[in-house]
Amino acid sequence: MKVNMNINVHHIARTEGHGNIHIKVKDGKLVESQWEVVETPRFFEVMLKGMSYEMAHLLTARICGICSIGHALASLRATENAFGIDLPETAKKLRLLAKHGETLQSHFLHLFFLAAPDFFNVGSVIPLVSSNRDIVEIALRLKKCANDMCDILAGRTTHPTSFCVGGMSKAPKKKDLEKIKTALSDRIFDAQKTVALFKTLTMPEFERQTEFVSLKGEKSYPWIGGSLISTDGIIKDETDYLAMTNEYIVDFSTSKFAKLSRESIAVGALARINNNYEFLNPPAKQIAQEFNLKPVNHNPYMNHIARLVECVHTINESIQMIDELLDMSLDTICAQYTVKSGQGISAVEVPRGILYHHYVINDSGKIEKANCIIPTTQNHANIHHDMAELVKQEVKKGKTDTQITKLAEMLVRSYDPCISCSVH
């Protein structure tokens, strides 16, 4: 039987932003496979030109509604590096804790609202409210805990209000930190139930040899700043980010594409674990082992499991960090600084992968040049090439166009792309 397919998914659902899937198979041979990014560009780098340095993190937080805390932190750190500001320990911890809140919020939103419906064969989480109420309630409790954490640490989850150049503009009350600690400890049970749930779901079997890029852990699992590493053995300083991303333009995408040693790279939870497995805390490592997730794992669908492992890691790390903060004085949360000309580069691991902000600032504190390289921008080429390989493998297995459409959509979702972010 001759297999012919013509798959077109316009504005794929359950992703942030707008992208299309085009697949053509003729006589059993792949003719075309394209991950087309059609999001409108917003030109953030151009908007930043001439803007006062203290407005940059407010503007760039608006690059993304889901990871605005991560953007704000990468932006602030770029400015702080330009001015040579050393943050107080308190501010470093409070910021990382806020980012952990965002990681949990983003990962749980993705696992339950965006990814899980595929495994239950429903269009969204809404029908699950009546069919699987217990699961939805777990999801809501976990998501609420993460959002409450962001509210207390960052002022709010989307477009934070408690950060400023030099540190934090407002410290949380210690009794609120204690509340988060209790809430997180209470949610460990729900996280365990989530692990049990994901054990009942089968991740599609698919592999394509991939180069994974992330921050490199030195003594702990890396989140903010440090060296860059790829699973192909490349290590660079974060200031050398351009050589780690090599952005280029393709005519079917308003987002740029990126590469390193191969035709594409992958960033995100799976990349972080592939490069930093040894730094996962014991409960998280235990979960990784239960799912047989060990480096280097080349199955993009395992990103879901990697997110789950990171959730467990992050909950445990947050509880430990709150204990440390409770023992510290929170009187000094912001460093004094002088505005001066210079440039600053910052790499931060946000939910979808490594994020870079780079600013050149003049002596009156105005931004002269800016560059932001977004995790999803770095993943687009990998999604594009994975999709072609996936179709080839699945056509050989005799899968129908409906089955392949679903697998292709699930492939895109496994990267949890933030498409408007990637185009920015």
Partner: protein
Amino acid sequence: MEYLGIKIEKPKVAFFDFTCCEGCQLQITNKEDTLIDLLSLVEIVNFREISSDKNNDYDIAFIEGAISRQDQIDRIKKIRKNAKLLISLGTCACSGGVNSLINTHDTKDAVTEVYGKHKIDTLPVKSAKEIVKIDFEIPGCPINKKEFENIVVHLITGADFSFKKYPVCVECKQNLNHCLLDENKICLGPITRAGCNAPCPGGKLPCYGCRGPAEEHNWPALKQTLIEYGFTLEQIQEKTSFFNMLTEVTSNES
């Protein structure tokens, strides 16, 4: 569905996104305590960010984002035809939001700066109401979920909704925050519409007016105060133009 013995129709609701960060739609999935109740009030037929179920038969359409490309103009016109009520959700839809900042730059230069010689379709940023008739606007960057729920309940029960007439400054004082003007920062809380419960000044971040002007405000007095505090017109304008929500009030002055 019945409420107090009165039968209430469940409206069919759709959400669509244009040029934005999609953070306003995200707020709808937040405030988890009331999410299931909110979902029980309406029938969601189109919400691409969280659902692959699609249906173009809807009563109320919420649109998030600004308009910045020809295909978006065509798309929003189609949505207008299908919807009985078309509602702008968030500052980007209401005024173009921070996206409007690009309008002070030449479009061609912007494309060249980011994409080099590659051709990219784009238009100067517009708000939704500059393209089609909008029945109601919910401002905020991002929207306030509690206010959103309140508006939805008013829509469903047919009651009139009115925004708070007083400025953010009132809510900020009620929260016992220290005044940021007194800390020598430009804060637009005195002229911006309340209803957000002042989360920005609550975090010591000044208000830059994402919700637009309050019905009762005194911009000339605030401007005079800021000038007396030593701020330049350029510094003031950078803040008032950030969300493009206060242009009507502040433009003919500066």
